[in-house]
């Protein structure tokens, strides 16, 4: 076998979930390590090799200058860069707080100015070109596992292209939007999570971001309005994980 690929995992500002989720691969993490060697994975290791990565995985949003520097480092030192998780691909919840940064800082920290150089949270994809974007808050472990295996074998990873609804149908879950009038974003949200929230009988909150392509948020908007949800509520819901204009 050829030498192992060097893997770097870089965490910008986030909840830690996307990095943690890699450890939740359990034994399969060791299967991956047949193909990869970890060069940087700050949550899990004190080692740091700082040279070159065949594959860099970046989680989180750019929310400070430190994040931006780290992202540039990862991009400049890697061949293949994966934006992992909705923070990295769409900005996630922190990017939905819509005040200018100074006002936000003031509301939270008082009148100290901005000595730590905070930025408005933005997804990784707005700053650098990425080779693969895997959304999800957090992403589905199998999707990442498969993608990393594919990359190691020189295959282009599969990208899901269907809404969460398809997975509800496959699992034969009762439609919570129609049957329970719950505010479910399943029809316009990218599938790949196996409709895990609908499994709990609850509505999809859109954590994988919008389905690219022919999605129709306007009709989802009308449906939710028809069920008595007010504008403000719907707009906020649409904007929470991805900046989504109805």
């Amino acid at each position: 076998m050829m030498g192992k690929l060097k893997l770097g995992v870089f965490e910008l500002t986030d909840c830690g979930g996307c990095a943690l989720n890699m450890l939740f691969l359990y034994e399969r993490l060791f299967d991956l390590l047949e193909f990869y060697e970890i060069g940087e994975f700050h949550m899990a290791s004190s080692l740091k090799t700082e040279n070159h990565y065949d594959v860099a995985v970046v989680t989180g949003t750019v929310s400070s200058h430190r994040d931006l520097e780290l992202l540039k480092h990862a991009r400049n030192h890697s061949n293949y860069l994966i934006a992992l998780g909705t923070c990295a691909t769409h900005g996630d919840v922190q990017a939905s707080v819509e005040l200018p940064i100074r006002e936000k800082l003031k509301a939270v920290y008082g009148d100290e100015g901005n000595p730590m150089k905070a930025l408005d949270s933005k997804p990784v994809v707005e700053y650098v070109a990425v080779d693969l974007a895997i959304p999800g808050c957090p992403y589905d472990k199998n999707e990442l596992y498969q993608a990393l295996m594919d990359i190691a074998k020189g295959i282009d990873p599969v990208r899901p292209d269907y809404p969460v609804c398809v997975e509800c149908k496959l699992n034969e879950y009762e439609c919570v939007l129609v049957k329970k009038d719950l505010p479910c974003l399943g029809p316009i949200t990218l599938g790949g999570c196996n409709a895990v929230c609908i499994k709990s009988g609850l509505g999809c909150i859109g954590c994988r971001g919008p389905l690219p392509g022919e999605v129709n948020p306007a009709s989802e908007y009308e449906i939710l309005k028809g069920k008595g949800y007010d504008d403000d509520y719907i707009v906020r819901k649409f904007k929470t994980f991805a900046r989504w204009e109805p």
């Binding site: 830690g16 979930g17 700050h42 290791s45 707080v97 808050c137 895990v196």
Partner: protein, 415 residues
Amino acid sequence: MIIELREFARVEGNGKAEIVIEDGDVKDVRLKIVEGPRFFELLTLGRHYYDVPDLEARICAICYLAHSVASVMGIERAFGVEVPEEIQLLRELGLIGEFLESHALHLYLLVAPDVFGYPDAIRMATKHGELVKEGLALKAFGNRLRELIGGREIHGINVKPGGFGRYPTQEGLEEVERQSEALLRLAKRAVRLFAQLDPYGERVKHFVVTDGYLWGKRLIAEDKEPFHYTERIEERSLVYSFAKQSRYNGEDFFVGALSRLLLKNEMLTPEAKRLFEEHRERLETGYVSYNNLAQAIELVYSLERAGEIAKTLLDRGINGENVPVEPREGEGIGYVEAPRGVLIHHYRTDSEGRITYSNIITPTALNHAMIEASLLREAKALYGEADEGDMIQRLEETVRAFDPCISCSVHLVKL
């Protein structure tokens, strides 16, 4: 002169420290939380209560369920909703899952490499594979509980004001009963291992916990007098950190496993209680490094308690009914013990059930001053005595003993 510790590895989130040297002596230590701010309180303002616990879960992946539960409790208290014992027990089971998942992560994957001299658990696995596997087994079971109660391993949305989206099945509970029994042996072994560690860090003078083992209506400290956080805990901003700092009656204090054991040991399950008594003397010295041992004893507690809860619920059967929730104008505080210690979610709501005020204080923020005090003590003891590399290694271990969760610590607000 300033000695910079590079960003800590093997802790959750991004932080570093500076040691200030003046006239050949350690003058000060600054813990710098460089993780960017995420403004969670602002995020929740104006939101409908129903969506809030799911968003607050995103504060932290390691303890998302503690955030959901604290959030749900704050909202229920604002609305005057009381949930029956069944729902309480199920929430407790979820929180126990989080203790297992988080403590196992911390002890086996983050701390054990220090004990055996490896940079990480993956490399440690070549020689100590058995141990790493044991840690992963405990962690996986913890996650199984989070999935069962929370809806998925990370950021599930199953915990709702008034109850759950779905309730666990009989088979699910039977599995919990079986597994918790089977894994107990591993947890006891962890206690033996972590009991060998030397004391380091500062000695804690004040401990703060919730008044129940996993949550409460109030907080308590050494005097056992229940209080609301607003009465004794003060927060302030720092120019060098995105995390605020808290003081208890003006002094630094500790929240976490060690505090729980010392102030609430009468609530422990039998085997955990026995282990606590066995190690009581050392734990009572109050060195923060004994927090690792305390977490190991809590692994035992968690497994025993999970078994008890599963048995209780199996004996009387699950009813599976949610309590109706009527929004109203109100104010409520949810106090939960996250794996790392006290977690506070405080809200005010309007008559439509929208959030008008929100304040969240996380364990790592509460411990921020204590971490600095510990670093200062270690740095003073080691500077000039040990070589710089060793000193830095020990300082990192000192930080790690707190099991800090840095992402969590950065979004606290007083509006």
